[in-house]
Symmetry: C2
Subunit: 369 residues, 2 copies
Amino acid sequence: MRDVAVVGAGKTRFGAFADRDLRSLAVEALQNALSDAAMGTDAIQAFYLGNFAGPSFTGQSHLAPYIAGAAGLAGIPATRYEAACASSGAAFHAAWQAVAHGIYDTVLVCGVEKMTCQPTPRVAEILAMAGDVSTDGTFPEIFAAIARRHMELYGTTREHLAAVAVKNHGHGATNPYAHMRKVITVEQALAGKVIADPLTLYDCSLVSDGAAAVVLSATGAGVPILGCAQTSDHVALRDKAEITHLPSIQAAARQAYAMARLTPAEIDFAEVHDCFTIAEILAVEELGFCAKGEGGPWSLQQPIPINRSGGLKSKGHPVGATGVAQIADVTLQIRGDAEGWQLGKANIGLAQNLGGSGATSVVTILGKR
Amino acid sequence: MRDVAVVGAGKTRFGAFADRDLRSLAVEALQNALSDAAMGTDAIQAFYLGNFAGPSFTGQSHLAPYIAGAAGLAGIPATRYEAACASSGAAFHAAWQAVAHGIYDTVLVCGVEKMTCQPTPRVAEILAMAGDVSTDGTFPEIFAAIARRHMELYGTTREHLAAVAVKNHGHGATNPYAHMRKVITVEQALAGKVIADPLTLYDCSLVSDGAAAVVLSATGAGVPILGCAQTSDHVALRDKAEITHLPSIQAAARQAYAMARLTPAEIDFAEVHDCFTIAEILAVEELGFCAKGEGGPWSLQQPIPINRSGGLKSKGHPVGATGVAQIADVTLQIRGDAEGWQLGKANIGLAQNLGGSGATSVVTILGKR
């Protein structure tokens, strides 16, 4: 297996862009990534696209060649990967495998979602397709059930959830690419409109448009990928042994740590999948940053920075873009290029991307040792 | 690069099944493939799912872990590949690459589509998403334009198109897994209801439910994969230099022939993507079985058997299942297991899977030398 590095990263701003279509967002991000890598399209041997629900949101399918053609990439293999909210995590994983194992030397991975469309599609209904539509409810309902159970089992409080929201809003306020650059207080978070008890508006990530892209290569300088793993689990909540435990995250993390020959204690910072505040608390537990059940108190202390970009909560969550956006943001931090939101110590970073309520997990560790 | 073989193949019957859902079709096909391979689920290291429009047809997304979980495969990487009508061709290509390059030793590839749903979705509208929805029309309109142009440039006639339909219906009538087992005459084909001039009902493939699966392995006896390539092109018809030429097929074929160290003259039989009769005529030209423009007369003579399974025209076209179903059928022929529709000479077979009007192409050559 060869060493693979992220040699270029590009993003669009995340937000609600009435005047932008899906393709123009994707093309902007991938051109930014190519420009960052100082490469032309001729260097790219395959195009990996992560997109969750472009056909449902925009009415256009066959999106990989649709985007590749507009970007001057027609000819090469171009495929769309769909794994719910981990769609571009899955695309990244496949692309990394392909370069690491010598299938290609240089590839482009892009994630994109256009969610704020006219006429407005039924967003909650489309997102619910990432769960089992016959037995699960909406995602706020799913994660509210998980939160209630976590509170019952471990004493997690609404204040713990609010602390995650306040932190991520504070982080996102400093990131020029974030969707919502607004500092909030604990009082505001606690007083938010209830979406699904105990989750308020401030516990939920944003409905955003946006794209992100990275160039992966086995040659050239960049930020090395030290470990990457993808796992799966049942889709339906009722098929999980214990809903506060998402074993797919834990399994992907263990594989990624083993590959990187690192322990959780050696991670300097992480971008985790905070589709809801409770999901960040579960993530830090499953990733081994703290013991099971300790995610609430741990998040209050924040021994290492989590979601310095603002996370899905404040940076935004254009579903299919999120996995690659996390990788791009970890890359920027490690390079020292996170202008306005740069961490002091950022040698080893982790990105954790979740599909649905854990039916897909992708964990990636990047860094310079 | 290692040798990879298809060590197991399984299918469902294709048809319109009011009482079957998408998942049960996929699970039936993959269990048949595992059984054919004499393997349990524990041998499978990754699950590759090809599906075009499950979310639009059935309202369920995140289909790879949704199916994997029900089949006892929870835990392993499970991803859905979407490339329009070449969705499972793209999944197969990625799976073959992964085994050939040592990422995995044994994987399962499944293709599935459930198109006849209640309430009946707008099938033509969903299928049109595989083209450019802002500039292309429906697929019958797209391929009618291609047919008219082919007639104008090369003297292709409606009788040539009808001959393809008659042949494929005759073939499908002998295949117990085919959707429509009905022999038709040239007179019937020519007198069919006009769908998009010059294409009649008999020039169009079927709207079907069905699934197919194959097990690929670097170890164990099976039918060797001699070459496999995936290419892309622009999605919109108006971006093609000449609509009767689909360069993505030609490029994928050339790569697959080179990999297999074979020429078109050494292929014994082929399963090609006859979504419309004119598409079969284009395919035999682009695959190099005859010169450009000669596809009509060549098809009348049929020097080598094309679509002995019945093709998409008669076997049926559950979009996301088609690519893997072609591979499964070529495998059965080479093994001598095509009961009732076995060819005499079937050592080297080719499968050609097309996405949209050529924005994705996958060509695979299998055989025993």
